[in-house]
Symmetry: C2
Subunit: 240 residues, 2 copies
């Protein structure tokens, strides 16, 4: 039987989803907790990696077991074993050909910016100082929507093709700041943070919205803006 997990975590103290040379990762902690409860070795496959310091409200993963499982009880058992900054939100049985990574239709990431001083969101929002033009930001966001070769917005050492489709980038005002909602068919290493970095430069007047066309065409990471910090980024939802 195959099961799907929906997982939330505060990425602050972790080296990322997957095992890294340095620091502790999230995936092995959940896999170990599952093995402890189900009493057999297994593989927990996530929808994709999240970097050090990146958070998740809706990471997904799957695993197989022959043990008879009550999903609600299993979630309670896992949460009792896991640290409080990792929470299993849901477990459900899925078809045997479901795959957390390959079956995904789209992924939604949120990037949180704070525009007012707030001591309570220091670990979850990137504070923006100085000039910030929301209309310029919106115009810049439009330049990224659609199917593009995102090589200029991807850090090296990744997939061969950097062609991806972004369905939407919504800018949502929320108390004390704004939230950028990215939905696409897939995002490469640091892609959301690199796009956000460019959008911050556009909002600050350092870059023009129309410059994005040239930067995309250059297919050169060195042409684009710096990456936005990890702490503002949340893997919000994976759609199947």
């Amino acid at each position: 039987m195959r099961f799907k997990l929906i997982i939330a975590y505060d990425g602050t103290r972790f080296a990322g989803w997957q095992v890294q040379k340095n620091g502790s990762a999230i995936q092995p902690l959940i896999q170990k907790a599952l093995e402890t409860v189900l009493r057999h070795p297994l593989d927990l496959t996530g929808s994709g990696r999240t970097d050090a310091g990146v958070h998740a409200r809706g990471q997904t993963a799957h695993f197989d077991t022959e043990v008879s499982v009550d999903p609600k009880r299993l979630a309670l058992s896992l949460n009792a074993l896991l640290p409080p900054d990792i929470r299993i939100l849901e477990i459900e049985p899925v078809a045997s050909d479901f795959h957390a990574r390959y079956s995904a239709r789209s992924k939604i990431y949120h990037y949180h910016l704070s525009l007012e001083p707030d001591p309570f969101t220091l670990l979850y929002r990137h504070p923006v100082y100085g000039s910030f033009d929301l209309e310029l930001l919106k115009a810049g966001a439009k330049e990224f929507i659609g199917t593009h070769d995102f090589t200029s917005f991807v850090n090296t050492g990744q997939d061969k093709s950097a062609v991806r489709t972004i369905y939407r980038i919504d800018i949502v005002e929320q108390k004390g700041g704004i939230r950028l909602e990215f939905e696409g068919n897939g995002f490469l290493y640091k892609m959301v943070r690199n796009i956000t970095g460019a959008l911050l430069d556009i909002a600050a007047g350092k870059l023009k919205p129309e410059d994005i066309k040239t930067i995309l065409a250059a297919r050169d990471r060195r042409r684009a803006s710096a990456s936005a910090p990890a702490k503002g980024l949340f893997l919000f939802q994976v759609n199947y």
Copy 2:
């Protein structure tokens, strides 16, 4: 000239508002920053103390200076000197007889409970497990409203009189939990946390709403429930 400050802080790493024997406090940090900017010694008087680990969205304080001050610029200068978990939200000139403590008409405290697993509010909400009856909680809250001798809900070593008036205790549902809003003419040491502790026992069915009358009449701290943890408590607003 007298000025009033509105201050927000994350209390997690502080020993409280006022100087303590152990650990760092918030009031001396702000006072020192003011002295650095204005270049003279001064006294910063708060609306009252908050305990170790208690947060504030709207602590208030006042100080006097003969230096000509632009309130907005002063707030920016202070925020540049202060750590990011303490933020000066507002500074305004007030009448010379304004007093942050004695002029206060009412104080509003919020206590946040989380009823769903959430890795992102571990430092700001008290998680409630097990049975939780919202209707019982509401009935219990009503027992505290009005003028009472709160001796049973105050930790020792305090004012002579524990008679205070609570104007309202509103129970507000919010995403993932609830918020208790307390407004009163003054709250004594640990009073909000002690009342919240009793309300949690009532919601869990360990105590009946009508038991509060007996406990109040006993005027004995040992008769009441344990204190709710500091991390869920926010000094939300001081009204003048």
